[in-house]
Symmetry: C2
Subunit: 421 residues, 2 copies
């Protein structure tokens, strides 16, 4: 049985500076095509975040270096280690001359860290070809919540990113010669941004919580079982005090409730020192992390209406413009899906424990893209430990995680084949 | 009678990059020292703002060029033209072989545009020597409020510049992995800044208006007489609508009432594009233009107390620090001083009209420095028209203003000598 491997051309992209560059091709591979077996598709990526030794790496970031059972190198955990572990699992069956219990498909891209440019178009194009026989999609591009206990990830938050621009004129003013007679754009903007949340982090936009999925008893129980030492978490985050005091509240507000963060202001005085300027045009930036079953277009309307109302109350002569510049839906899986049960059983076999059932508070668009376009179950099955340092200096994957992770994927093939029947 | 001219060494200054540069010396000159005559001291500066033709100059900024009765060149109105006019006025008496009716002192610096570095120390040092015999100080470093009608300036606003820093930790957070469980510094800061003014520009800091000088009938009448076309002013400012609708209200809120402007935020996301960051430490910057009889140390206390109160209401676990990084007092002259009456009479003689009695909403520290240290009357007697474009491209002084201004200074010498007796 030989694999079939294709390189899919994705065309080229134009950079902001006008330069045109080819997009790295996507690898589409398949191994086995037997009608009786389920087809499992693995998604991975081989591109990495930038790294130079000068950033504070203790080893050459581009030479994999083992120190005390840790394999250091850029991409070790994000995402080359998991890709190799998947290949190891497939190879194991061949080495043992055993029949693979599943048909395998693999999609590997080289643009994940740059926003998976053109991937959605490719998935749409291949929906009825490469993906037509796929039953399950597996992504292994996150981390566990702990150092030793494996996890399954069943949801990620979406994100609606907004700009709110307030303009008096295109030029700045001198605060000595104009201070006192203007509707100052910064005063308007600060009031608008200040109307978004209360001091307890609760979002004040009317209706924003209407579509948030109610908390069931079943879901509630998941949080209690999770392995998280709150005090250790707080210390390693270097935060004096969180908004909430219990593990359950903390996790729920990171995963299953929306949050609103103000990122900054463009166009005002942002440098060190003093400058007596009245900025003439300022752009506030904030975003809302969305959870099931919030919808980006409903959220956009709610934010627009709220800010229009607050602005109208000010009787300002300035102009206000609100835009949603990014709208990414949340993703949630049904943890009763066959492949979630299969993954749990595989974890039990390899690690001898139940997994933490967790979500990820940040936004990983590919899960939702696969779910929406291919309409099959997506599983996030991470291999790396919480301290792997993805995107940071001295990124690593533990030798133990890498080897047990390879076993986990092989065990998963067996379990998913069994449950699929 | 020969002038006595000295160059006063001011030592050297260290630039932010560590470089040490000598400060240009200050010229201290005197002409005449007769006990029966009043001594008038003129302050001027010869340094200028940067200028290159590429900024949009229609002529070489460093070659004085006359076009249609306008003398274009960097420094033409700020402040070389007025300095020359003063010299012209002195020269006129010599050319006519007439006795100067006043003793003259002149102080000319070369660091005004850089904040008059070391000038205050010099004035203190020379208080009982060079300045001991001075009766009146004249500054001609502003502009009229109109194109044709001369003005006397009798006040400038002070400035208290504040930073308010809110810190959760020294590093930023990712809004996906921390959004929802933090007291976010930007939310605190936006609430703090939003508590400073209402939407009508009124300052909400308790007690801030307590020391503002009450408006007298006499002062009120000054505003009505001033030559200002509000519609033209609004159009040339390119502002859709001011906070007030009458000339009197506009001028009072620029000159005799305090104003508060928010300048910007340091440490947040300030670039174009989107970034999903929760800034860990942010510094808000705002300043209050002060008017008689507000005091910087009282204002500092009021701002501190107000922000502490607002912050305490939020129960935030972040750290807040408020600092007044600059405190400059307002300056106001007694317009019944001899030299104000002398200047009015001189204007009547040369221009055939009463002057606009105006103030300047911005802060000119030297007037207050002279008033406080030498304790003599300070007069601001501008020569340039409102459209001279100081600090801008195509700065100019009108030939007419320059010549009539020279006459005005000579007439002022005669009037001040007469009133002083």
């Amino acid at each position: 049985m030989d694999p079939n491997v294709d390189l899919e051309d994705l065309g080229s992209q134009q950079l902001p500076d006008g330069q045109t560059l080819p997009i790295p091709p996507v690898i589409l591979a398949e191994l086995g095509n037997e009608p009786g077996k389920p087809t499992v598709c693995f998604y991975g990526h081989l591109d990495v975040q930038p790294a130079t030794q000068a950033d504070g790496w203790l080893t050459d970031p581009y030479t994999l270096t083992e120190v005390d059972g840790k394999l250091y190198g850029r991409g070790a955990t994000d995402n080359k280690g998991p890709v190799l572990a998947w290949i190891n699992a497939m190879s194991a069956f061949r080495a043992l001359e055993e029949d693979l219990p599943v048909n395998i498909k693999v999609i590997i891209e080289g643009m994940e860290e740059a926003g998976s440019v053109a991937l959605e178009e490719l998935v749409k194009r291949e929906k009825d070809r490469f993906f037509s026989s796929v039953d399950y999609i597996v992504i292994s591009d996150n981390l566990w919540l702990s150092q030793r206990r494996p996890a399954l990830i069943y949801g990620t938050r979406g994100n609606s990113y907004f700009t709110v621009e307030v303009t008096c004129r295109d030029q700045d003013f001198h605060s000595g010669t104009f201070g006192g007679i203007l509707h100052e754009p910064m005063a308007d903007l600060v009031a608008l941004l200040g109307s978004l949340t209360d001091s307890a982090g609760h979002i004040l936009i009317p209706g924003i919580y209407d579509d948030v999925a109610p908390l069931t008893e079943e879901e509630k129980e998941l949080y209690g079982a999770i392995d998280l030492d709150l005090e250790e978490y707080r210390n390693s985050s270097r935060v004096k005090k969180f908004l909430f005091n219990t593990k359950e509240e903390i996790l729920m507000h990171l995963w299953r409730y929306p949050s609103l963060s103000i990122h900054g202001i463009e166009g005002a005085f942002d440098e060190p020192g003093t400058k007596t300027v009245i900025p003439g045009r300022v752009i506030g930036k904030f975003s809302i992390r969305l959870v099931p079953h919030m919808n980006t277009s409903v959220v956009e309307k709610q934010v627009q209406q709220h800010l229009q109302y607050i602005f109208s109350q000010r009787n300002s002569s300035n102009q206000m413009d609100v835009s949603m510049v990014l709208g990414l839906h949340p993703w949630i899986a049904d943890i009763k899906d066959h492949q979630y049960l299969a993954a749990k059983r595989a974890i039990k076999t390899v690690f001898g424990t139940e997994p933490d059932m967790i979500r990820d508070g940040s936004t990983i668009p590919i899960a939702k893209i696969f779910q929406d376009i291919i309409q099959k179950s997506v599983l996030m099955l991470p291999l790396g430990a919480v301290d792997d340092g993805e995107h940071s200096q001295n990124e690593k994957i533990n030798r133990w995680n890498y080897i047990e992770g390879s076993k986990l994927f092989a065990a998963f093939f067996l379990e998913v084949a069994q449950l699929h029947e």
